[in-house]
């Protein structure tokens, strides 16, 4: 069905028109789902200890937001508004089951580290928020782009936080040591550098996000909140 819609739409509007491009780029910066709209923090922060986990989580969320947006957008005229939340939840849950099974089959290591947080993608507010705010009122193609954009915005922030935490907490990135070997005292450790174990603890994720928000709002004064 999405193809037919695209075909009808194609002559009037190119697939990557300015408006459609905006759907992808906006959530990356000034309308970031995490730092501006405050959505989807729930399952985000506990898994940012290592960059690899954050990347897998980000990709999973991108997949679920995109597909969920498309499916709901195709069904939007058939869903009675009273039960729409349950319909959305079922669609998202089905997609998350797919993600979970794929991860368990191909990336068992990371899958066991993410544990319940894969399942919690279901209640990730970004997904529900985008379904509710965008997919229910737009055609499948823009919904797909919107899902991609928001998923990327989320994944980007996740990876950014993870980079800080892994680099300063464990002295490595993606598992590769950056500052030398902590046990054999090579590299920076030779001159007395220590890993900051505080970075590994869960509360630091919140503080890092807080600082990122601070930097972002200091650069773009329009985003500053009243009390």
């Amino acid at each position: 069905m999405s193809e037919t819609v695209e075909k009808v739409k194609a002559p009037s509007e190119p697939l990557f028109s300015k408006k459609n491009k905006k759907l992808i780029t906006d959530p990356l910066t000034d309308n970031n789902p995490v730092t501006i709209q405050v959505l989807g923090i729930c399952s985000a922060l506990a898994i940012t200890v290592q960059v690899s986990q954050a990347i897998v989580m980000g990709l999973s969320v991108i997949f679920v937001t995109m597909m969920g947006n498309v499916v709901i957008s195709m069904m939007r005229n058939a869903i009675p508004s009273r039960i729409r939340i349950i319909v959305q939840l079922v669609v998202v849950a089905a997609l998350v089951i797919v993600v979970d099974q794929v991860l368990a089959a191909f990336l068992p290591d990371i899958s066991s580290k993410l544990s319940v947080f894969v399942g919690l993608i279901i209640t990730n507010c970004i997904i529900m928020g985008r379904l509710e705010a965008f997919a229910m009122g737009n055609k499948p193609w823009p919904s797909l782009l919107d899902g991609l954009g928001n998923g990327l915005g989320y994944a980007g922030l996740l990876v950014l936080v993870a980079i800080f935490r892994e680099l300063f907490g464990s002295g490595s990135l993606l598992g590769f040591p950056i500052f030398g070997d902590a046990v054999e005292k090579t590299g920076l450790y030779a001159i007395g550098y220590q890993n900051n174990n505080l970075m590994i603890l869960p509360p630091m994720a919140l503080i890092i996000v807080g600082v990122i928000i601070w930097v972002q709002r200091a650069r773009n004064q329009a985003l500053i909140e009243e009390h």
């Binding site: 730092t35 405050v38 959505l39 989807g40 923090i41 729930c42 399952s43 985000a44 922060l45 506990a46 200890v49 290592q50 939340i85 349950i86 939840l89 079922v90 849950a93 089905a94 998350v96 089951i97 979970d100 099974q101 580290k113 544990s115 319940v116 399942g119 919690l120 279901i122 209640t123 990730n124 507010c125 529900m128 907490g169 464990s170 490595s172 046990v183 174990n197 590994i200 603890l201 869960p202 509360p203 630091m204 994720a205 919140l206 503080i207 996000v209 807080g210 600082v211 928000i213 601070w214 930097v215 972002q216 709002r217 200091a218 004064q221 985003l223 500053i224 909140e225 009243e226 009390h227």
Partner: protein, 222 residues
């Protein structure tokens, strides 16, 4: 083996839903502007958690787990439906929330007035589904343990949201750098409260010594 009381205390303090796992942050940040609304939402979360986790526990043990269907006969004993657990849990949560909303509206209009707007929000609150998934992962041995866990996590969430709401009410009178106002300072405060809550990790439960999160990370580091 930890006792039921251990599970309860642990769920409130050292494994607090907000400070250790960040579950339910969306509503935590959105509804913590005043203490009154925070009290309402917190109470609703306790209530829904205590209802849904035991129901999901029964589902898990008599329907979903590998071999859980053996009560239906030999033929079904080898079945493992655990891949369906996400969809079952969320369906249970969503329908129970709907049911509770209707019941409360009918029989306790005053309570409905207080909780009303929060109940639909709760269906998509991560802490509720998170409670069900943690229950599944930790495999509590009896339904009593599962209930104690759900009550404890509910109370932990309640404490967290009421505390941050109280702090945010006071924050209105303080001079915060403009870009940090609102969201930024709330994040940092939650982080600091989380650091404070980590001190509860030192509590010893029964015979078992609680394993701090740091250990697991340190081993993975090596």
């Amino acid at each position: 083996m930890e006792s039921t009381l251990d599970i309860f205390i642990k769920a409130i303090f050292s494994e607090n839903m907000i400070f250790a796992y960040f579950l339910g942050m969306c509503s935590y940040l959105a509804v913590s502007k005043t203490v009154n609304t925070a009290l309402g939402l917190g109470a609703a979360v306790i209530f829904v958690l205590v209802v849904t986790v035991p129901v999901n526990y029964l589902l898990e043990n008599y329907l979903l787990k590998a071999g859980a269907l053996s009560w239906m006969g030999e033929k079904y004993a080898g079945m493992d439906l655990s891949f369906l657990s996400f969809i079952m849990f969320i369906a249970v949560v969503a329908s129970i929330v709907q049911l509770v909303e209707m019941l409360v509206e009918k029989f306790a209009p005053a309570l409905y007035g207080a909780l009303g707007i929060f109940l639909p929000l709760i269906a998509v609150n991560c802490s509720i589904l998170g409670g069900a998934l943690f229950m599944q992962e930790r495999q509590y041995s009896t339904i009593l343990d599962a209930t104690a866990f759900s009550l404890g996590s509910g109370i932990g969430w309640f404490v967290a949201i009421v505390a941050i709401a109280a702090i945010r009410e006071k924050l209105r009178y303080s001079k915060i750098p403009a870009p940090l106002r609102g969201l930024g300072i709330t994040f940092i405060l939650t982080g600091l409260m989380g650091v404070a809550f980590m001190s509860f990790m030192g509590i010893k439960y029964g015979k078992e010594v609680p394993k701090a999160k740091v250990e697991s990370v340190e081993t993975s580091q090596k």
